[in-house]
Symmetry: C2
Subunit: 726 residues, 2 copies
Amino acid sequence: MNPIMLSNLRPLTLLFFLLYTSTSLAGQPTTLKGMDHMKWEKVLPGVWKASIGELQLNALDYTSPPKTKAIEELGDSPFPFDISQTYHHRTPTRIGIRLPLAEQEKIYGLGLEFQGINRRKQVYTLKVDHYGGVKGYTHAPVPFYISSKGYGVLINSPQRVKIHVGVSNRKDSQLPERVDRTTGGNKWAARPLSDAIEASAIGTGMEVYVFTGNTVLEVVQRYNLYCGGGVLPPKWGLGFWHRVHTQSSDQDVYQEIADFKKYNFPLDVIGLEPGWQNFAYPCSYDWDESRFPKPEIFVNNLSQQGIKVNLWENPYVAPSSSMYTSIKPYTASHTVWLGEVPDYTLPEAQQVLLQHHQKKHLDLGISGYKLDEVDGYDVWLWPDHASFPSGHDAVEIRQLYGLILQHTLQEHLRKQNKRTYNLVRSSYIGASDKSAVIYSDYYKHKPYVTALANASLTGLLWTPEIRSAESPEEWIRRFQTVSFSPLMMLNAWYSGTKPWSFPEVTDMVREVVVLRKRLLPYLYTAFYDYQKSGIPPFRAMVLEQGFTAKEQLTAGQLDGVDNPYAEQQRLEVTDQYMMGPSLLVAPIFTGEKSRTVVLPKGKWYNFYTGQYIGDGETITVASKLEQIPLFVKDGGIIPMIAAGEDLNSGSPKLEVRHYGTKVNRYLLYNDDGVSYDFEKEQYTITELLVERRKNGKLEGKRKIKTANQNFKFQDIDWKWMSANMK
Amino acid sequence: MNPIMLSNLRPLTLLFFLLYTSTSLAGQPTTLKGMDHMKWEKVLPGVWKASIGELQLNALDYTSPPKTKAIEELGDSPFPFDISQTYHHRTPTRIGIRLPLAEQEKIYGLGLEFQGINRRKQVYTLKVDHYGGVKGYTHAPVPFYISSKGYGVLINSPQRVKIHVGVSNRKDSQLPERVDRTTGGNKWAARPLSDAIEASAIGTGMEVYVFTGNTVLEVVQRYNLYCGGGVLPPKWGLGFWHRVHTQSSDQDVYQEIADFKKYNFPLDVIGLEPGWQNFAYPCSYDWDESRFPKPEIFVNNLSQQGIKVNLWENPYVAPSSSMYTSIKPYTASHTVWLGEVPDYTLPEAQQVLLQHHQKKHLDLGISGYKLDEVDGYDVWLWPDHASFPSGHDAVEIRQLYGLILQHTLQEHLRKQNKRTYNLVRSSYIGASDKSAVIYSDYYKHKPYVTALANASLTGLLWTPEIRSAESPEEWIRRFQTVSFSPLMMLNAWYSGTKPWSFPEVTDMVREVVVLRKRLLPYLYTAFYDYQKSGIPPFRAMVLEQGFTAKEQLTAGQLDGVDNPYAEQQRLEVTDQYMMGPSLLVAPIFTGEKSRTVVLPKGKWYNFYTGQYIGDGETITVASKLEQIPLFVKDGGIIPMIAAGEDLNSGSPKLEVRHYGTKVNRYLLYNDDGVSYDFEKEQYTITELLVERRKNGKLEGKRKIKTANQNFKFQDIDWKWMSANMK
């Protein structure tokens, strides 16, 4: 019996269910003292939900509805672990849950973490804050974790979830053998093996969701699809972003653009920092007329050159703002930097913001925002005891603030059929459909790459933006990483560094930026897959089949591993990641003469040369200053804008590369790049097919797969990267 | 009108009071939106209390009753700040308070902090944990702060108090001028000046106490006296402590003691680490018969040599313990290191522990315990959502666990008229009467000294115990510090280092240990003052008159300062402290060729030479490897055991030193050193009087001031340290 969907059971069946849940199949008593069994309801194939009490703020109210059809296409599967071992309990102020955990199970996720990937044997306090200090304090502490057994759990709470990931042992649970520490040597464990994940949060309500999958990637897909699928950014969002000094005037920006032309660097988005406003920290959101006397003309001038404008802002309203009087009734008890804190859970407050921004920015052609300071610290933001006019708890509002702002702006622009792409300092549950990329002040290069990988596990996008460098080497290494990230941005206005500030590497910097821009057809298609199927365009290696010991993880079965230690080492590889279906990115860090790359099973090839480099093994590659190591899996088809083409052309000539020896098929996506018309089938999909001719040679074909042909590519050059190799 | 003691007011007066509190004297509206005025009740002269809701666990239930008479002797004073500006509010899960703060006010306290002393412009989450990570996470996060205006505030909550010390601004409070960050330069503040201290905690109840004082020291005294006064340790507790390897047997300990004799080092207490038990982590509390086949004989053997035995333990009970079955019904839902966690809020659980310990340890002559692992981390201790049989919240029990254990053991021994002196890893509110000294794994030397100073501000004792050293220099520097601390202990069993392990400095180490032992009459008297008047024997410099700019702080008045910046610098001096009434200790740290010492106003003299060294100024002293810099204030009278005397004699010959030129008077305390008979006037006080003869020479006299003469010192040699100096 599948003891699911209690509401559909007849009384006798229900009685049987209750008996069943109080004794496990092995005959052990399974009722834990003071805890109640959780009641699960199946909401979609492979998706279950249990509710405890009543949620106040609900993050899922700020996401798009589930992509039901896509979830159904992933198929169904049984509840992925022992349902009789799921518990909850309540205290006057707290709700706790307990879910089973097997001995070899590995746990990933929990949001934007900058260290490691296996979350087991740690306690995380999932708090929206700057990164560091306490485990779980980060810009996007998503209470969603993934098990190597092939399921994911979302703890939908607007409070700070404190989660014990396989650490802490109930006395009435399965306890490991006790060892005397004095004589027990290495057998004694400071963190004894635990048979559960336990979590709790202050508050009156909590929802728990379980998502299954045949692979870890499918679990992520299901979670993302349940939250509306992934975002498809406008094409310009995937170009080159540059932020100018906070005190820049329109003339300064024109000069900066002229410099970009002079040095022959592409430029797609200009970001204006706080000083575009006549008051900042807190913000007026009104143009500083001394710097930007005619913002409409300024934005239009840039638009003529194909350059979008992005505006920095934080959410705290200065009394001098033209929206101050309107927003004041909807603000919190406390200020931030002496500015009012709008309660954006109130539609009235949202309307004040949107009306102001529409008139002052969006009507002028502003493309989006950089939503700063929505994350922490406690010494900056409102205290936990602040009160808000909606009556919502101050902690809950802080936890969701970044998410709510993203949602509010995005839905507003959606009504105008305009896609946007923003920057944001905090995010939370269900963010995969949000057109915003997270950034941070923490500036260590290697942890930035780890964050890029971890972001993919919980519906987030992350940019390792560049702020400064201590050497030409670091400069090019940072550019290489950011060029293979969701948002390629130079944010060096404070340090004053320009792309060409280190002449020794200027050509290399330009080269990698151009390479990224040439990869747009491939990357844009990867984002389409994110949107449609929930497959993150940038992915941690554990989401790649053939990376873990077992090619296919079977839901409900333990990941069989020959050498758990080696496997563990392999899993902790967080300094490489996947971009799109077939590209493995392995950044080099300053000072490294070489690096190891852990290859998933299957043959892999050098992106630049097409050379075979290995299969399921750990290789060492020598570093070249001018190249970020990139590898392509056997049969990988990579459509790029052909060399020398106009990078911003709507329908450029393509170079389609094929790697290795496998025949393959690739569905190339294209659309208008700016609107939501793609939701009404206004897009073109071109099938790129690699077949083997009778003479043994590979051959490339293409075929339009959609009725709509408006966005097809005219010219395609096939390039057989490994044709002359074995 | 003094709007205090509402219960005593007649209806008309009460009405006036209510009107008064809703408008300040300046006519400004003082009611803040969503907050209620606090209702204060005067409980003792200079002590007020306001209750909000109902407390669950109450730390004050684990302290001795207030020393009412001593508090009355400190005199009365009005409520120390604007009572109309005190507020509270409640949410379904949280209680918040708001108290006024003046622009120049400085705030000290908040427990065992290892950094700095002025707590302003920070947010502290006061959580019992290992030190570090988040501000306020520490072994003894006491929610008591002291204002430079001459008052203290205790937030009596068993939950983790989150306190915003002059940071965060309500929109309906006095806000400073807003400055545009882009153009405002240094005028812009990331943490704008706030006019309040705001704090909150989860839970249903909170008590707030206000303590006044004419000086900061008096505030501390009143707080300590309200919590039962300071502890008077047994004399042996102030001697030399040494902990042996966890796997030591009785024979190993005998050898260790023989080595101490061979190297001519004093030894007062031997500490046994986990392995004295037959199971540890969790604990059996039962002797390991293979190591200690006859514990009774072992303890007795040591006792014959004047050596006490202290037993390490943590509170988590192993199934193999002889008290396991009895304690099991009173344990929590979760284990720690797979051991049961007793609910020591239950008298039944306390009784199991006491009966076991009495029979197995105390009856044998065990002197006390080292109560380890009562502090953190989250990955080790029970989770916040654990449940306890008493029904108390798991967070509250964790916050008070160390305090409750200290109290339970101490009160048990008090009934037997035996003083004890213990080590403990966590403490909390109202700990001044506890016979336990806190220690920590954090091992940085300078922050250890800061902790020693800060401990004095919130009723704590702290030992900078020695674990290891990287050089002979560090070894002697660490010994010098610990010799001038509440508990002189070598805890180097893990590193295997002995006092004589660095032969280059062995003589110096012995010398400073002997000096500390010779200072016992002075130090023991200082502890008597702690017990009687609440004056901490080791004190932060801010508790010393003449250290801050104004000699006498007047309650309710702002500390007038000529140069706030210089004053601020001076206040942040935390690497020196006072021991007893007249000794200033300024430890040298490894690598320092010299150090600066900030002298309070008045003349100061070199302890070793009697030489004048300065007055209210900052001096630089060259470091000498063999000496810790010690300075004595003008007129300082320091009774010491005379050189060459038996250091453990009950009534040794004394050398009484006098420094400088001032006439003075000193009350020398003595008693049996072990029992509570001193509470029944079984002690002797000898007045040591320094007068000036007609010929201008100083003369020393003594006079017994108590009826009891049993504990007088027979021989006294006066030593005029500065007699030949100007």
